[in-house]
């Protein structure tokens, strides 16, 4: 098992519960593995729009939509702890021969333990602020067609940056990596010069733009 700091592990588990909570509220749950990781990635790269810092430090750019191995490990644990419900687990081979695991996840509302965790999070100011951001982003993503959500994350200005090749990491802490998505969201102002865009409105418009891009490419 990966040696993980207990504190970092707890933080990541809370993050997963919040992502799934937001998915529930936006009617995205049960959410499949690809969409969950796409949601986690966009939550990282768009966090400056909400004035937050990215949760993850980095992600490896692959030929597929973003995928966090660490996140998936903790999802597995949360299932075993009875906090998440899993359905339709399946394995499929990727074109490169590697094995991909697919399942759909949702919060397990029957768990009393899970209920206590959610009550505790509701009372925490920092957690509430993070949750409201994830809720808004989940609603923005829910405005896309279900099958476009995972592909949309790969169309993000940073993930799609031609200067970062597949197999390199995207470091959210580096200004140069943050700039492209930032520029893209800032440039929305020039489309509506007379309107002051709220952060929420900005997320919706950016999600809409990614959705359009999926089809422009596809």
């Amino acid at each position: 098992m990966t040696a993980v700091e207990p504190f970092a592990q707890t933080k990541r588990r809370v993050r997963i519960l919040q992502l799934l909570e937001a998915s529930e509220r936006a009617a995205l749950a049960p959410i499949d593995t690809d969409k969950l990781h796409a949601f986690a990635y966009l939550a990282d790269v768009l966090s400056p729009v909400w004035g937050l810092r990215p949760f993850d430090r980095r992600v490896l750019k692959t030929g597929r939509p973003p995928y966090y191995a660490d996140l998936q490990r903790e999802v597995d644990s949360l299932v075993a702890m009875g906090l998440l419900e899993v359905s339709q687990p399946a394995y499929r081979k990727a074109p490169d021969g590697s094995m991909l695991f697919q399942a759909r996840y949702a919060l397990r509302f029957a768990s009393s333990h899970g209920r206590n965790i959610r009550l505790a999070l509701d009372a925490d100011i920092e957690a509430t602020a993070g949750q409201s951001y994830l809720d808004e982003l989940a609603r923005a993503l829910a405005s896309l067609r279900d099958e476009d959500i995972a592909a949309a994350s790969a169309e993000d200005a940073t993930y799609d940056d031609p200067n970062i090749s597949s197999g390199d990491i995207i470091d959210f802490g580096e200004v140069a990596h943050r700039m492209r998505t930032g520029h893209a969201t800032d440039s929305l102002d020039s489309l509506f010069p007379d309107v002051r865009l709220t952060p929420g409105r900005r997320l919706y418009m950016y999600a809409h733009y990614l959705g359009r891009k999926v089809h422009a490419v596809g």
């Binding site: 980095r58 191995a69 075993a80 009875g82 687990p89 394995y91 094995m99 390199d168």
Partner: protein, 675 residues
């Protein structure tokens, strides 16, 4: 002998300030011997008219400004300068900017009759003649005209003529003192009583003394600065002898720090690259490990699905991961024994939940198409397990390497900070040391050489000054007797005028006063006339050294008496014109009469006085023109001596409203009646 300008006639055309009457447009006035009055209330252009007459004579030229304008100046002015207001003074007073305005003056100097006409827009000469012969005006500096008037006046230079006319012919509102200013007296003695040749020699010597003195003082000031510099440098040389070595040592430490920082920065760059490489490697390893695990899971999952077709997704999920990880997913406990048990059960076809052998199982192999688990290829499982283990090792190795590089980078950054701080501190300390570095001995030698040169120049200029001063002294010796005699003549005439005005006994007495024409050169004795006057609290007459020693009206009229005495004495009682602006300002009714007596005492024979009056007092006009009379010829003559600006000048609001009253007031004055 000096000849003063005698004004005969003034004429102004096309100037809106003096539109004149319907019968006689513009302004035209004949100045007769005796007293004339320019009468008009405030704002009708009296000062402008006086300035017009002045500018018609002297043109657009001015005396150079002295730094201390309250005094006349210790040396003579050498050259006049252009009048700065030549294009503004007359133009700003009228809406058409005096575009077509001209003024003409007939005047005499000695036995020569001049006639000049100037444009008021810029004061330039339009026509000029002497004794009816036109004067050459090609030269824009009016050189020919100036030479003629200077020669006619018996003076040596135009700047002296300008001084004489400005301060003696005209007694205008700024009333600069002459009697109480020894330097002014000295210059007027020179201008009026020395021959033109001696006067010019005097000016030349004063200029030489002034120039040599100024150069000597500059050289001295420079030498003084050099001396102070040398003192400071020598002191620095003695007290900071060890600083060079100290600085060299400090610089060596700084150089070592700089080298260390460069090395650290190089290492830091290397580490950054290694961190980037290992972090990329870690992420790739994580993904590879994840892939390997999912591969193993898939094998297990397939086996479990066959073994436990009724297990729900969650149970299958957990069991799969349990097999793949050898750790309990829920609690993280090491469950190797349990896994071995399950592994064996699965490979033997024993139910993993209840332990029933294959024979007792209701769902037997083949019955519902389930392939016994032991049929799963053990080799595939083993390979998958090995792949997971290898991937985990690689991920762990990459993560460890990354952590190690990050730790190294952190340590390196701490040291880099420390070295950078040390460099800043050392640089500051070195700058302080550098400021204390002993000077270059060559620099001191250079400065000493410059000092010797400066002192040599200073001595040279002092010698020049001394030579000029010797010549100047000889000239002063030559003129002393001349000035004494002139002073007696001036004092005699002053007595006559002053007595007419003052009730007190008064006189002028000759004295030699010490002064110097330069700031630091030799002192000389100059002729001076001192004013003495009896006072209520003293038995004998007292010297009144300063203008403050007499009352305001006494000051003005005593100074005027002195000017009249100078003019009479210098011109041997020949014709002259004196133009006085509003002399009545500081006088009461009694003293206005006395002032009239004094002015009439001057305006005898061919001499003439032009006085401006504000019509503020009913006494002034009779005091000047004579007492009450019913003689119509006399009254008519008096009117020819009055330039009535109430009629000639453009009326202002006061004249439009009270014009009749002012006129009655003036008429009463001309007829000698006190209104």
């Amino acid at each position: 002998m000096i000849h003063f300008p005698v004004v005969d006639h003034i004429q102004i055309c096309g100037y809106r300030l003096f539109p004149g009457g319907d019968q006689e447009p513009g302004l035209s006035f004949l100045v007769k011997p005796g007293i004339s009055i320019i009468a008009g209330v405030n704002g009708l252009g009296k000062t402008t008219l006086i300035e017009t007459i002045f500018r018609l004579i002297v043109g657009p030229f001015e005396l150079p400004k002295l730094e201390n304008s309250a005094r006349f100046g210790s040396t003579a002015r050498v050259k006049e300068t252009p009048w700065p207001a030549r294009r503004e003074f007359f133009t700003r007073r009228v809406a058409d900017r005096a575009a077509a305005a001209t003024a003409k003056l007939r005047f005499r100097i000695g036995d020569r009759a001049f006639e000049v006409e100037r444009a008021l827009s810029d004061c330039r000469l339009l026509t000029a003649s002497v004794d009816g012969v036109p004067i050459d005006m090609i030269d824009g500096f009016e050189t020919a005209y100036k030479d003629l008037i200077v020669g006619s006046a018996g003076l040596g230079s135009f700047v002296d003529f300008l001084t004489m006319v400005k301060f003696l012919t005209f007694f205008n509102e700024d009333r600069r003192d002459i009697l109480w200013d020894d330097q002014a007296q000295r210059q007027f003695f020179r201008i009026l009583f020395a021959s033109p040749a001696i006067s010019q020699e005097w000016v030349q010597h004063e200029a030489q003394i002034g120039s040599a003195d100024s150069s000597a003082r500059s050289a001295s000031a420079y030498a003084f600065r050099l001396e102070k510099d040398i003192e400071a440098l020598v002191e620095a040389l003695e007290t900071n002898a060890g600083v060079t070595a100290e600085l060299a040592a400090a610089q060596a430490l700084l150089d070592a720090d700089l080298e260390r920082r460069e090395e650290l920065e190089r290492k830091s760059e290397g580490l950054k690259k290694q961190i980037a490489d290992t972090s990329r490697q870690t992420e790739r390893a994580k993904l590879a490990e994840d892939g390997a695990r999912r591969q193993l899971e898939e094998l297990r999952y397939t086996a479990l699905e066959r073994l436990f077709p009724s297990l729900d997704d969650t149970a299958r999920y957990i069991l799969t991961h349990l097999f793949a990880d050898a750790h309990c997913l829920a609690c993280g406990a090491d469950s190797e024994d349990e896994i071995l048990r399950l592994e064996k059960a699965i490979s033997d076809g024993i139910c993993a939940v209840c332990g029933a052998p294959p024979a007792q199982q209701h769902r037997t192999a083949g019955a519902d198409g389930i392939v016994p688990v032991h049929k799963v290829e053990q080799k595939m499982l083993d390979r998958a397990l090995e792949a997971v283990a290898n991937a985990a090792i690689e991920r762990e190795a990459s993560a460890t390497a990354e952590r190690s590089f990050r730790d190294q980078a952190e340590e390196l950054n701490v040291e880099l900070d420390r070295v950078s701080r040390s460099i800043d501190e050392r640089r500051l300390a070195n700058a302080t040391l550098r400021a204390r570095l002993p000077p270059d001995p060559e620099e001191i030698a250079e400065k000493k050489k410059a000092l010797a040169n400066a002192r040599s120049s200073q001595q040279q200029y002092e010698k020049e000054r001394a030579r000029a001063e010797r010549k100047y002294q000889l000239l002063l010796n030559q003129t002393e007797e001349l000035f004494r005699a002139a002073a007696v003549r001036v004092a005699h005439r002053f007595q006559r005028f002053a007595t007419a005005f003052l009730e007190e006994e008064c006189s002028l007495s000759f004295r030699l006063v010490e002064d110097r024409p330069s700031q630091s050169g030799a002192r000389f004795m100059y002729p001076s006339l001192k004013f003495e006057m009896s006072a209520a609290a003293f038995e004998t007459k007292q010297f009144r050294e300063r203008p403050d020693d007499v009352s305001e009206s006494q000051r003005e009229f005593v100074d005027l008496a002195f000017r009249m005495a100078l003019m009479e004495a210098a011109s041997n009682d020949q014709a002259a014109t004196l133009i006085i602006e509003t002399p009545e300002a500081s006088l009461d009714a009694i003293f206005m009469r006395k002032a009239g007596t004094m002015l009439r005492a001057f305006a005898e024979d061919e001499r003439r006085i032009v006085v401006t009056s504000n019509l503020t007092s009913s006494v002034m006009v009779p005091s000047l023109l004579g007492g009450e009379t019913a003689d119509t010829d006399e009254i008519a003559d008096r009117w020819t001596r009055v330039l009535d600006l109430l009629t000639v000048a453009a009326p202002n609001a006061a004249v439009r409203k009270f014009g009749l009253e002012y006129r009655r007031f003036l008429e009463a004055g001309v007829e000698g009646r006190v209104a």
